[in-house]
């Protein structure tokens, strides 16, 4: 059986974008899933479990990203991560 892969588009809407704090939250959430999760911006791909990788995407407000996961709980992982981004990382604006 082939390994299931899921992906979904999401737009960064919080004011500061994927800064250290937001990236930290994303990374901590990704850590909870056993699958491989990536964030893709254009031709850049970052491991969602790498703080440095996420920051290196330099994804400011308005950036479109693809969240892609492969393996166990991949669908849940994609949903959880996109929800976090849509919820502006729990930031107030």
């Amino acid at each position: 059986m082939p390994v299931k892969e899921f992906s979904r588009k999401v737009v960064i809407t919080n004011r500061l974008g994927l800064h250290a704090r937001a990236a930290g939250k994303l990374r901590n959430l990704a850590e909870r899933f056993p699958c491989k999760i990536e964030l893709i911006r254009g031709n850049l791909t970052a491991n969602a479990k790498s703080l440095l990788g996420l920051m290196a995407l330099e994804a400011g407000k308005g950036t479109e990203l693809i969240v892609r996961a492969k393996g166990k709980q991949a669908e849940d992982a994609v949903k959880a991560l996109t929800d976090l981004v849509k919820g502006r990382f729990g930031e107030d604006n």
């Binding site: 004011r15 500061l16 974008g17 800064h19 250290a20 704090r21 930290g24 990374r27 491991n47 479990k49 790498s50 703080l51 440095l52 990788g53 920051m55 290196a56 330099e58 400011g60 930031e91 107030d92 604006n93």
Partner: protein
């Protein structure tokens, strides 16, 4: 910013720098330069069989560095906790990051090079990515990566991080900036001052310095390049001046100033616990302006009668996230409990204008002082406002809280703000969360339109507080930071005095109190006029309270009223100033003894860059 003055100690050039005062006090001492030098590393090509061992060695170093950070995390005090924790946690995450740790292991294995070399290559690669970023904040994170990296490298080569734990003699620490994990590692007993290139009153170094009562000057720009280890430094935390290798004259001058400061402080201590009343027994409350929670111990130290102005902007500045209701609540609760029994006036956010707003990113405006700020901004951003109002209300259950709206210009703003406060209160009722139902509501009087309508606005609120800094600049139509017109800024301008009198009369007719919380309230010379005008409370930096109290206790209200009557016949501020000065000298010499004293003051024991005092006495 530097200038070469004259030949200083040991024949070195003396240089003067001006920075921002971060913590008061004057001190002289030897420079301890905190440099983050790159660690020297060996470069080796490995035999196949040593690769595994090398990977282990690298992992051990990572673990050691992590362990150290966790220990530091536990030591970080609660006052600085939120921001410091974030930085330390980010550093911990970096140590576990595949782009740092994983990539290094790969390099050791694939290129068969030693751990230090592999790691340095990885660090340099990351530095390049971050250095090329557009986003300034993210670019700064490149520095974090370097700091973490150097820490690991030091573990591997066995080099101690800083020798700072073993400082044996008193030193002034000179650094680019200090991070929480650096200050947490310092043995602070031997540090007598801080001087840094960057920073502001709210940066970590400033906060630590103030909590330890160590003089500090920040934002000196190039001090790490201009001062060398072992140089002598005089640091004046009252003016922000720093002198590297001072001449004996400069040293003597500072010595005198320090002596004067100590003498005055000793004198003023007597007034900390005395009543705030005029010589004929009328009370005027002297309260403190507070910017940050850590200052609350100043209330007792200087005998403040509560907090007359709590500036809540610092909850927003230098932060990456807006504070939530809980953060507001916790903060105000501590404040209110410390301000008991007099209570605290909490001013809702006054952002915009001259204040630098990072997280809210207000649109750039042509004339920010008159733009979208303070209550105008809050009414436009009800969600941000609501979190603050709920936080204040919840805190009011723990002591006496007053809420104050800044920069009101029309009555509708008061009504809208009160409605939002009412809504927040009703929500809390529903949630059965306790708060003070009698919480007092006040407004700042700092806009001419509000001043002129004082009698009518007084019907809406429980108190006024005159913010003189803004009021004066709006009355005179001047931009205070514009050097060409700042000469017009004059608290004794007769128009300003008339406006204040009008506000006081309007308020008193309506039966409400008038406070003053601008700089004008802490100027000794103006006090008789403020008494004469009938202000009920003066709020100022806590440190100024004993001095103002001393004068207050020597002046009779009847005399102050007579003087005020006299100056209201005058049309020139210079003339008015002259008359008050004359009265201060002749009518109240005891009140102003510290202002006009010509006494030779005792010279204190001052740590000076000359081995024997005869050098100074001889003027070398």
């Amino acid at each position: 910013m530097s200038e070469v003055l004259s030949e200083g100690s040991e024949g070195k050039d003396s240089k003067v720098f001006k920075g921002l005062t971060a913590s008061e006090g004057i001190v002289a001492g030897k420079v301890f330069l905190l440099e983050r030098e790159r660690v020297m590393i060996p470069r080796l090509v490995l035999h196949e069989e040593h690769v595994g061992r090398e990977v282990e060695r690298f992992k051990d170093a990572l673990e050691e560095a992590k362990k150290e950070l966790v220990e530091i995390k536990e030591r970080v005090s609660s006052t600085e906790a939120r921001e410091s924790m974030f930085i330390i946690n980010a550093h911990l995450m970096m140590l576990e990051d595949e782009m740092l740790a994983g990539a290094t292991v790969e390099r050791i294995q694939n290129e068969r090079i030693n751990a230090e070399w592999a790691f340095r290559r990885v660090l340099d690669g990351l530095a390049q990515i971050f250095n090329n970023m557009q986003d300034e904040y993210l670019r700064e994170r490149g520095r974090d990566i370097n700091a973490v990296g150097e820490k690991v490298l030091r573990k591997m080569v066995g080099q101690e991080e800083f020798q700072i734990r073993e400082i044996k003699e008193p030193v002034i620490v000179v650094a680019h900036d200090l991070s929480p994990d650096e200050t947490a590692q310092m043995s602070l007993q031997n540090i007598i001052g801080f001087a840094t290139d960057v920073g502001s009153r709210t940066s970590h170094t400033a906060i630590v310095a103030r909590s330890l009562q160590i003089p500090a000057v920040v934002g000196l720009q190039r001090i790490t390049q201009e001062a060398s280890p072992g140089d002598w430094l005089i640091l004046d935390g009252t003016t922000g001046q720093v002198v590297v290798n001072p001449s004996s004259d400069a040293c003597k001058e500072l010595q005198k100033k320090k002596g004067r400061l100590e003498y005055v402080n000793q004198e003023l201590k007597k007034y900390v616990n005395l009543q705030s009343e005029s010589a004929d027994g009328f009370r005027v409350r002297l309260a403190a302006n507070i910017e940050m929670l850590e200052e609350i111990r100043h209330l007792k130290l200087y005998g403040a009668e509560g907090v007359g102005l709590y500036r809540t902007e610092y909850l927003y500045l230098d932060k990456q996230e807006l504070p939530d209701e809980e953060a507001h609540f916790q903060n105000y609760r501590k404040l209110i409990e410390a301000a008991s029994p007099h209570g605290a006036t909490i001013r809702t956010i006054d952002l915009g204008g001259d204040k630098f707003v990072h997280p809210l990113h207000l649109a750039e405006e042509m004339n920010p002082a008159m733009g979208l700020r303070a209550i105008r901004f809050c009414l436009k951003s009800p969600e941000i406002f609501r979190a603050q109002l709920r936080g204040i209300l919840r805190a009011s259950a723990f002591g006496r809280a007053r809420v104050m709206f800044p920069m009101v210009s029309v009555i509708e703003e008061i009504r809208s703000a009160k409605r939002l406060l009412q809504e927040a209160a009703e929500e809390l009722d529903k949630e059965q969360v306790p708060y003070d139902h009698q919480i007092e509501i006040g407004i700042m009087i700092e806009v001419p339109s509000a001043s002129l309508m004082a009698a009518e606005l007084a019907q809406e609120v429980d108190f006024f507080s005159i913010g003189t800094n803004d009021l004066i600049q709006y009355i005179l139509a001047i931009d205070r930071v514009n050097e060409y017109v700042s000469y017009l800024y004059e608290p004794l301008n007769p128009a300003v005095l008339r406006v204040i009198r009008h506000v006081v009369q309007g308020a008193h007719q309506a039966g409400i109190e008038v406070h003053m919380c601008g700089e004008m309230a802490s100027e000794p010379l103006y006090l008789p006029v403020l008494i004469g005008l009938g202000l009920d409370e003066l709020s100022m930096p806590a440190i100024a309270i004993p001095r103002i109290r001393k004068i207050l206790r020597e002046v009779k209200r009847s005399e102050a009223e007579a003087l005020t009557e006299e100056i209201f016949n005058m049309v020139s501020a210079d003339k008015i100033r002259g008359v008050i000065e004359e009265a201060a000298r002749t009518q109240w010499p005891e009140a102003y003894s510290l202002e006009f004293t010509d006494k030779t003051l005792p010279v204190p024991d001052f740590y000076c860059p000359y081995d024997n005092k005869s050098d100074i006495e001889a003027g070398r």
